[in-house]
């Protein structure tokens, strides 16, 4: 009796080992997604979790879903995320400081309660029989899924197709900016600049008087202060200017210091030498 129950309600040792190792990885990835400040790192953590999940799908006999998980989720959706993260600002780290009063306490309470309730529900449910997918997958997993999709779920399938098309069109509509007038030519723009008298010549390039040549490092003026004009407005808006003027000034000061020391010591030796010579 108990042997029979074991047989149907447990899995192989190999799978157990795999589960415990990968579950830790998945939870770590999930926590990383939530806790890491930088969006890029979050995305990478999430990708890791998803790959682990793909392995679990495979282990559970969902071969098709496992592959789709890797191809569609990890491959396409996560890449889309990364694109947007890059577009919006890759280095802009989130502040994790809470601004809404009581939000974190409430969220914690809710999440804790929710988790406990879910666990209690799972524990209460009589889920100890494991039928396995042997019979269902006997004709091949993909064939089985296809048979279901195109018979029992065909209507939902068609609806999903319509949804995808709509989503694609919707995304285009949302991000598309329609031009209502002709774009100004370069000549017109330069004429306008001359007419208004603001910044007639081209803007100064970043990093001209600096040792750095990166776009986010502002060029230094002759007195060593940074000129914001030299950085692209987008970076300025995001606050992603890497101001190295202080560094340069400090290096200059250090250089002078060293030169001074060198001169000091040179003079000392000279005077010592002179005394010696006088004797």
């Amino acid at each position: 009796m108990s042997a029979l129950a074991d047989a149907v309600s447990s899995t192989s040792t190999g799978e157990a080992v795999q589960f415990w190792i990968l579950a830790v990885v998945a939870v770590a990835g999930a926590l990383g997604t939530v806790l890491i400040r930088k969006a890029v790192h979050s995305a990478l953590c999430l990708a890791g979790t998803m790959i682990v999940l793909a392995v679990f799908y495979l282990a559970n006999g969902a071969y098709f879903l496992g592959i789709v998980q890797i191809v569609v989720y990890t491959g396409a959706i996560m890449m889309l995320f990364l694109f947007v993260v890059m577009l919006v600002g890759v280095t802009a780290a989130d502040s994790l400081k809470e601004t809404i009063k009581g939000q974190r306490v409430l969220a914690g309470l809710c999440v804790l309660g929710f988790g406990i309730l879910l666990a209690a529900g799972i524990a209460n449910a009589s889920l100890h029989r494991f039928n396995g997918l042997g019979q269902a997958n006997s004709g091949g997993n993909v064939q089985g899924l296809a048979a279901l999709i195109f018979t029992k779920y065909v209507f939902a399938f068609e609806l999903t197709g319509a949804l995808l098309i709509t989503a694609a069109v919707g995304a285009m509509v949302l991000t598309h900016r329609e031009r209502t007038e002709r774009a100004a030519t370069q000549r017109e723009r330069s004429e306008a600049r001359v007419r208004t008298g603001t910044q007639v010549p081209p803007l100064p390039a970043p990093g001209v008087y600096a040792r750095h040549n990166a776009v986010d490092v502002p060029g230094l003026l002759p007195d060593g202060t940074a000129s914001e004009l030299t950085v692209s407005p987008t970076l300025r808006d995001r606050g992603q200017i890497r101001d190295v003027s202080g560094e340069a000034l400090a290096e200059l000061a250090a250089l002078e210091q060293r030169a001074q020391e060198r001169l000091e010591s040179g003079r000392g030796e000279e005077s010592a030498h002179g005394q010696g010579a006088a004797k």
Binding site: S9, T11, F19, W20, V27, A30, T33, V34, A39, S42, A43, L46, T49, F56, Y57, N60, G61, A62, F64, L65, V68, Q69, V72, Y73, I77, F81, V84, L87, V88, G89, D94, E98, T99, I100, Q103, C110, V111, G115, L118, A119, I122, L127, F130, N131, L133, G134, A136, N141, L145, I149, K152, Y153, T160, T166, A167, A168, G170, L174, T175, R238
Partner: protein, 99 residues
């Protein structure tokens, strides 16, 4: 090992994702947390499929993926257009929905 552990894992992942949705302010990260929750559900579905010995759970997980893909496309488009006009991806900045 008892396969119910897969369900506990799914519940845990779902809860972590929910916490992220509630706590994080970066809209993109919030979105990622939602994806995490969806994936946790998918894991539960696949586990149920195996428990019951039918493929219907996998079908549902499949549809979830498709819908999630559509949702991500539209959601990210919205985030991008909001970012264009407000120069911010924080969900707290879009707080005009009040008296």
């Amino acid at each position: 090992m008892n396969p119910v552990n897969y369900l506990y894992l799914a519940a845990l992942l779902f809860t972590i994702g929910a916490a992220g949705v509630l706590v994080r302010r970066n809209a993109i990260v919030v979105f990622m947390c939602i994806e995490l929750m969806l994936n946790a559900c998918n894991l539960a579905f696949v586990t149920f499929s195996r428990m019951h010995g039918t493929l219907d759970g996998q079908i549902i997980a499949f549809f979830t993926m498709v819908v999630a893909a559509a949702e991500v496309v539209v959601g990210l488009a919205i985030i991008v257009s909001i970012f264009r006009s407000r120069h911010s991806a924080s969900v707290d900045d879009a707080s005009l929905l009040k008296l």
